[in-house]
Homo-oligomer: 385 residues x 2
């Protein structure tokens, strides 16, 4: 096992009817800005439930945070925070709203150009406003971690940032709040959580059996429940288990003490920034190709994955690895998520642009062994066509 | 899945050579009391390493915290804290030292009789001194949770307490610090962690597949590594994995959203308080008997345990359950831990006293369904002879 630090102070309030409990975890005197995305939190009544829970506190609202939240939009919220002396931020939504709120929390108290936060991957963050989250979509894990991803529209750049100051103080995880989500978003959530796990699991062995078992447990649960959860919108247990898996997939636990990859995410970010493909769908395209191209470096873990996650025990090593990758792809397809660039009208002619963007963003030595060069990324993208 | 709160702000500093890092996590101006047990932390050099890391801070020491730390001893530390205006406590040791330090942290600032903390199971704790831990023995999980157990010698009473104010702020987990432990203590640690897991796993199903998979992953790892870890004192990975398992076995994660039992612990506490049997050894005695007596209430989970943890697939349900319990017992015995009261010179004549103590301590409706009455406890103890 590798040396590691693990720190995660976010308080999880899990279950039905938990929104009212936010009252216990925000100062009575706080001046709160509630941040959300489109109109769905209004239509479903979740926003009103939050406002009721906040009681007599002074509350302002900031709506319109888009999927893949943009620097440009978020700076509008930063302006309000500064002008109105807001001292608590409450995100109501999915990963984009929570990521965006983390950025606002840091940018509102940063002395200087807020783009520094993105340029330094959060390194300049020395403090941030306190924040909480009410989750309405299981996918990114942002509700219980300290990271976010923000897009600068002008340069088609998606930038990740991290800081120990940007953990939500609490997160309400009420599975019933996901009942009204469209199947497409649910399927995206399953894929997003799945690939968060593989980025931390499918690398190389460092004798960390607990991390392996936990990652496998999460993957097995997603495989068992994924399709059912997408198609049974009001089955509480399915939604609850999916929600808890997605949170645990990226709260730091399964990645503590093991190597991590993240090259699939980095290439996926370019696809979203350039062509506006849903984040999860970019992962479903890139992951199978990445595993295929890098199977020698990942051989031991791929064989373990084949056996423990897909119960593949027949065939030689090459056959087992190929079958495991193929089953991964089938799983994504079975959720209604395409796994080829052609499904998004992209072809070989677009690859140069993607590679150029990777280079422009210094994504030239990716993966757990830093061996995903632009040339390897090109091989991967060719397999995605 | 049941509704739950999960909150665990302890920062884990895991790996070799991490003691020096405590310097970053204690205020430079802090007046520190270092608490420890017997002389082993002196003999091994760990205490000196801690003192070096604390640098120029004012540091006092309090040694002599015994296994199953006593109220009487700990009140001596409380006296020092008050007289010397100590403002940070640093536990250096195993579960007993860390549990005791939590009690000191709360009792030092409690206005009233410190026994109230034990009588109310921590309910009266409204604040506590900040504390950290340097772990030297993997077993109890106290390094990353908010609970402790303290013995009042005068009444032979072991009392558990919990408070959100008694989490260690940080815990250093350096596996090399366990190299010098005697095999007996290591074996105890494996059993203790094992039974912490079964108390949260072997109850009844509530459709919580992730919690099940995590618990099974921890049990499988203990079974794979337990004996090896006991007999290979300087194998880093074995000790590291054992350490991380024991921490995760009782940090709140696998018990979140599921029923919990803890009747084996409550009966075990009486055995320790009356007859001074090592805590883990009392668990090894009681657990197999408890599972046998309560197998109807635990049927579904016992069958899952048989299949997933012990790979038992042959035989009818009764045979599989019986074999799983028998393998559990064999596992403890294989570690050199006895599983019968007779090994400690106890016989049927002692059972009345144990039952009387359970009743005196109001332990009359134990377990996940509150159905472990004194009569059921008697049946269990008869099977332990």
């Amino acid at each position: 096992m590798l040396n590691f630090d693990f720190y995660n102070p976010t308080r999880i309030l899990f279950g039905q009817q938990r929104i009212a409990d936010i009252d216990k975890h925000i100062a009575k005197s706080a001046k709160v800005l509630v941040l959300y995305g489109g109109g769905s939190v209004k239509a479903t009544g979740t926003l009103q439930e939050v406002l009721t829970a906040l009681g007599e506190r002074t509350v302002l609202q900031f709506g319109g945070i888009e999927p893949n939240p943009s620097y440009e939009t978020l700076m509008g919220a930063v302006e309000i925070v500064k002008q109105q002396n807001i001292d608590f931020l409450l995100a109501v939504g999915g990963g984009s709203v929570i990521d965006g709120t983390k950025f606002v929390a840091a940018a509102s108290v940063y002395q200087g150009d807020a783009r520094d936060i993105l340029k330094t991957r959060g390194g300049v963050i020395k403090h941030a406003l306190p924040m909480g989250a009410v989750l309405t979509l299981s996918a990114t894990g942002s509700e219980m971690n300290n990271g976010g991803v923000v897009t600068q529209k002008d340069t088609h750049t998606k930038s990740a940032f991290f800081s120990q100051h940007t953990f939500p103080q609490f997160a309400v995880l009420d599975p019933t709040k996901t009942y009204t989500l469209p199947a497409r978003q649910l399927a995206n959530g399953v894929v997003d959580a799945f690939v968060h796990i593989t980025e931390q699991y499918l690398t190389y062995p460092v004798n960390a059996p607990v991390q392996d078992r936990f990652a496998e447990g999460l993957l097995l649960t997603l495989i068992e429940l994924g399709q059912q959860a997408v198609h049974n919108p009001t089955d509480y247990d399915l939604r609850a288990n999916l929600m808890w898996v997605a949170t645990l997939a990226l709260n730091g636990l399964i990645g503590a003490g093991v190597p991590q990859d993240w090259s699939t995410h980095m290439i996926g970010h370019e696809l979203t920034a350039l062509y506006n493909i849903d984040h999860a769908r970019t992962l479903a395209i890139v992951l199978p190709a990445m595993l295929t191209v890098r199977q020698d470096a990942k051989r031991d873990k791929l064989l373990q994955y084949a056996q423990r996650v897909w119960q593949i025990t027949e065939g030689d090593e090459q056959q087992r690895i190929t079958l495991a990758i193929s089953k991964t792809k089938d799983f994504f397809n079975g959720l209604g998520v395409d796994t080829q660039l052609s499904a998004y009208d992209l072809n070989e002619s677009h690859i140069d642009t993607i590679i150029q963007q990777l280079s422009a963003h210094k994504m030239v030595a990716l993966g757990e062994k830093r061996e995903v060069t632009p040339e390897v990324s090109r091989q991967v993208l060719m397999l995605c066509l």
